[in-house]
């Protein structure tokens, strides 16, 4: 198992390196410079380029760039907030996005699992069909549509929730954004868990545990659920990605001062450092989540943990 | 006396699992099959018998050794001609009739698939005629062509699998445990069918199984496999009347007989492989008769020919000896 984890960590490290490389190359290949102000003369431009070290050979810049990125020094913002360190700009926002994202993941998993289990147990009944409809809706309707809809109905019309997200009082104002973000997760987890459970419940070891005299609830909780969760864990990784991308628009809708809004802004004004920094953060988050999923996988499923050693 | 249809020489099929571990599924086996004969390959799980069948039909690439089919070498790299030779002349019937038929294809589509690949010159009508003819040969009605696998019983599905193999007019059929998944009375039906088809069409067959009594019924020659080696090989009657290798003896002693009074008294003999320290790689093939050979070292061969099986066979009639190494 240690070997397995070690392998996974090495892969993660290599992936981060490749991400850095890719981002750097994209940056290099993009036309134009951050300094497109026409009032600058060529001479003045050269001076500025030298100042920011933009005229040094490519390899040198790459190494310097890697060093800085990994230290968390993302340079300074060229256009949005002139000369402000990017890390400072991100600082406050990262927390907001992460916290909303985490809440959405947990909520999504919790509700998704409940729906999935109920659908599987009540398979074939109207309850199952109803859950399926919710699941299809959750998967098909984009999160920002939910966001707009819930904003309009629950915040504007019914006034149950505030319209704008308030970072200093996140409680109530965070409800709608989190729910909108989590819809896709709920739906996917529910569908996955349902089909897995149906298959697991038909297997012979479930029949044996019933023959052991266990009550149905014990059969399901002790044997059914654990075996069904394994493939759900696999799906968690990509779901987290979805959350990250979904947050871009949802943040805009609820005026949440998170990474998403900043990201979009920075792209429109070519503020390279900010764009690179946020891309990097998103990518690293994803790699870490996948690593955690892989490790979790080996913990839950003894077959994966032990398979490399061969039968005893 | 024509040359044998199939010659296998020192075939090895290894599978690399990871850096440290290679499974030697088949570790150096040799045998020949004469035209029109049935060769029974017997062994338990892990013996390598199924792997052997798959290597012959080139579902795997043999690790080393040679396979000659009708005089042509088919174990190395296959060029277009030899590949065609293999695909049209060697066919396989699989074990699980539920799993080996595509549930989304009709009987017509499944059975004619091989024809479509290797004889594209045939029209759809010509193919259908062939399919109906082969279905009749296996005892199914031509009306079944448009049905799906789930509409048939296990025995019928196995017949469809056989039809799929026969339509290619192969010279060699490899039947990999074709009856294990079937009910007892259906097993008899399918085995009778195989025997009849073989006689009528002159097909050579390799019958892979773990059920010794069926193997004896259908085979002319038998090879007994254990852990990737053929430990004993010979004409059917010889193997059953004079088994020499302790594994063969233990297999034979394990065959249940529907004779209650005797069966209750009978105790199977356990093959103490690990305890005995037998190493198959050290053995050679010793002749028991012109058609019967055993894999053994000279010392082992002497002992076993004299009936001395101490340390290799046990009497399993109390719990202690029921505790075996790997089982």
């Amino acid at each position: 198992m240690v070997r397995y984890i070690g392998q996974r960590i090495s892969i993660a490290v290599v992936t981060v390196f490749l991400i850095l490389l890719l981002l750097f190359l994209m940056l290099e290949l993009m036309p134009g410079t951050p300094f497109n102000d026409e009032r600058l003369t060529d001479q003045q431009r050269d001076v500025i380029m030298e100042k920011y070290g933009l005229d040094r050979p490519i390899l040198e810049r790459f190494f310097k760039y890697m060093q800085l990125m990994l230290k968390g020094d993302f340079g300074i913002s060229y256009t949005l907030n002139k000369n402000m360190p990017v890390s400072f700009m991100l600082g406050q926002r990262v927390g907001v996005t992460m916290s909303l994202g985490l809440q959405a993941v947990l909520l999504g998993l919790a509700i998704g699992m409940v729906l999935g289990i109920i659908s599987a147990l009540k398979h074939g009944t109207w309850l199952d069909s109803a859950m399926s409809m919710i699941a299809v809706a959750g998967v098909s309707v984009p999160s920002y549509v939910f966001a707009l809809f819930s904003l309009y109905v629950f915040a504007f019309l019914l006034r149950w929730f505030p319209i704008r997200y308030n970072p200093s009082a996140p409680g109530l104002s965070g409800v709608l954004p989190v729910i909108s973000l989590s819809m896709f997760t709920i739906a996917t987890v529910a569908r996955f868990l349902r089909s897995e459970m149906l298959e697991v419940l038909g297997s012979e070891y479930i029949l044996l545990s019933r023959a052991k005299g266990l009550r149905e609830s014990a059969v399901i909780s002790r044997h059914g659920i654990r075996n069904s969760l394994i493939p759900v864990v696999t799906v968690v990784g990509p779901l987290v990605v979805n959350l990250m991308t979904g947050s871009l628009v949802v943040e805009k809708i609820f005026a949440i001062p998170g990474l998403g809004g900043l990201f979009v802004q920075a792209i429109t004004v070519n503020d390279y450092n900010v764009v690179i920094a946020i891309s990097f953060i998103y990518s690293v988050m994803f790699v870490l989540v996948m690593l955690a999923v892989d490790i979790l996988y080996s913990v839950i499923d003894p077959r994966i943990r032990l398979s490399k050693g061969g039968p005893a | 006396m024509s040359s044998p249809l199939l010659e296998v020489k020192n075939l090895k099929q290894h599978f690399r699992i990871n850096r440290r571990f290679t499974t030697k599924a088949v570790d150096g086996i040799s045998f020949t099959v004469e035209r029109g004969q049935t060769f029974g390959l017997v062994g338990e799980s892990g013996s390598g018998k199924s792997t052997t069948g798959r290597s012959i039909i080139r579902l795997y690439t043999p690790t080393s050794g040679e396979i000659f089919f009708d005089g042509h070498l088919i174990s190395g790299h296959l060029n277009a001609a030899t590949r065609r030779l293999v695909r049209s002349n060697i066919q396989m019937v699989f074990q699980d009739p539920m799993a080996s038929l595509n549930p989304r294809k009709t009987v017509l589509e499944t059975v004619s698939e091989g024809l479509m690949n290797l004889h594209p010159e045939l029209t759809a009508v010509e193919r259908k005629v062939k399919v109906c003819r082969v279905l009749e040969q296996v005892g199914l009605s031509a009306d079944f062509v448009n049905r799906y696998p789930h509409q048939f019983s296990g025995g019928q599905r196995q017949r469809i699998g056989l039809a799929r193999a026969l339509i290619m007019e192969p010279q060699l059929i490899i039947a990999d445990e074709p009856i294990s998944a079937l009910d007892v009375s259906i097993q008899a039906q399918v085995v009778n069918l195989l025997k009849r088809i073989q006689k009528d069409l002159g097909i050579t067959m390799i019958f892979i199984a773990h059920d010794l009594s069926m193997v004896r019924y259908i085979s002319d020659r038998i090879g007994v496999m254990h852990l990737g080696h053929i430990v004993e090989i010979g004409d059917r009657n010889e193997i059953f009347a004079h088994p020499i290798h302790p594994y063969t003896i233990s297999l034979l002693s394990a065959i249940p007989q529907p004779n209650p009074i005797l069966e209750k008294k009978r105790r199977s003999l356990g093959y103490l492989y690990r305890q005995s320290g037998i190493d198959y790689t050290l053995g050679e093939y010793h002749k028991v008769s012109s058609t019967h050979e055993v894999l053994a070292t000279s010392l082992e061969f002497e002992k076993w020919s004299a009936g001395d099986y101490t340390d290799t066979l046990s009497e399993s009639h109390n719990v202690d000896s029921l505790k075996t190494e790997s089982v």
């Binding site: 545990s209 052991k212 005299g213 266990l214 654990r226 075996n227 077959r303 | 009778n192 773990h210 105790r267």
Partner: protein
């Protein structure tokens, strides 16, 4: 010593509601099981052999229902009686399954939970039903592993099913079944998925445990060799009814029903040369479709006209031997067993003589 009756089944009828039709899977079964005895229920797919025992264990699938009949379980030690048909599946599972009557299934590869340790799976029943404290349960589980012939029991307790071979897994399944000291053990095709050399060891293991604990065992199987080895009594089922039953000697040495003849003849005989194996023509009947008379009649080359109109009742052939065939009726024409079968039976008798 009087042998006590532990299980009594009378006129049992079970049906299943499928999307197409109502399938009457069990159409009147009568069986008895006594303490210390072994009963084998023989049949092929569709005979209903597994269904009756699932009803006893309370694990009938949700679309199945017991329509009529009685299943009475009597605890041989306390004399307590349980009328299983009157109990809900939940009740059966809380009082009977796993505790007084235990079951093992066919495929050891799929009978064990792949994500739970062996030890935990053996201990589960004890802890659940009897609240046995963990330490004691662990000790008992280890003892059970030793009893079923698994070495290194302490190490094995912590292992997972995928680390064991097929034969060992089946031993674990037996250990699980024995965990709560049941009085009846039901084995549903326990050796079909195992290698031949392992099969006899597992059967011998069950036999020795049976003797030690005076258990009653029911085997469900289609393998007549297994029946010959372990059974005291046999019941042959076809299309949801018992068509022949009796002591194993009565049924094997003096079979009277054409289906039984067919089954016995389908096995290749190691001692005789045969040109062609006798096989029962046709396929097992589809019980979802209506039929008249004896469901075996279409495949029965000895069928009489009446077989197509009325299903035969059970006739007595002496002793405990009962046969559901019109051929047993004194009014029907005399029919001889097929010659090849007769030869076989003769050969079997001679072989017994040779082995005395």
């Amino acid at each position: 010593m009087e042998s006590k009756r532990v299980l009594s089944i009378r006129d049992l009828e079970i049906s299943f509601k499928t999307t197409d039709a109502l399938v009457r899977a069990i159409r009147g079964v009568r069986l008895d099981l006594f303490q210390g005895e072994t009963l084998a229920i023989v049949g092929e797919s569709g005979s209903g052999k597994s269904v009756s025992v699932k009803a006893i264990m309370g694990i009938l699938s949700s679309n199945g229902s017991i329509d009529a009949g009685k299943i009475l379980y009597t605890d041989p030690e306390t004399g307590e009686e349980f009328s299983i048909v009157d109990m809900s599946q939940r009740e059966i599972r809380s009082k009977i399954s796993g505790q007084r009557i235990a079951m093992i299934f066919q495929d050891p590869m799929t009978s064990l939970d792949p994500t739970m340790t062996i030890g935990k799976q053996i201990m589960e029943g004890m802890r659940y039903h009897y609240q046995v404290p963990v330490q004691e349960a662990r000790r008992k589980a280890q003892e059970l592993l030793e009893l079923v012939g698994i070495d290194n029991s302490a190490k094995r307790m912590k292992q997972y099913p995928n680390q064991l071979s097929g034969g060992m897994r089946q031993r674990v399944v037996i250990a699980i079944a024995l965990a709560c000291d049941p009085q009846i053990l039901i084995c549903d095709e326990p050796t079909t998925a195992l290698d031949v050399t392992v099969q006899s060891k597992i059967l011998e293991l069950i036999q020795s445990i049976q003797k030690e604990k005076n258990l009653s065992v029911i085997y469900i199987t289609h393998d007549l060799g297994v029946v010959a080895k372990v059974a005291d009594y046999v019941a042959v089922m076809y299309a949801g009814r018992i068509i022949e039953k009796g002591s194993v000697e009565e049924v094997f040495y003096d079979p009277r029903h054409p289906y039984t003849w067919g089954l016995l003849s389908s096995i290749p005989d190691l001692n005789l040369e045969e040109e062609e194996l006798y096989s029962i023509p046709g396929n097992p009947i589809n019980l979802a479709l209506p039929f008249q008379g004896d469901p075996f009649a279409p495949r029965n080359r000895y069928a009489l006209n009446i077989d197509f109109e009325q299903e035969p009742p059970l006739f007595s052939a002496g002793g405990k031997h009962r046969v559901a065939s019109w051929l047993m009726d004194p009014r029907s024409p005399k029919v001889e067993r097929p010659a090849s079968l007769e030869r076989r039976l003769k050969e079997m008798r001679e072989e017994i003589g040779r082995n005395e």
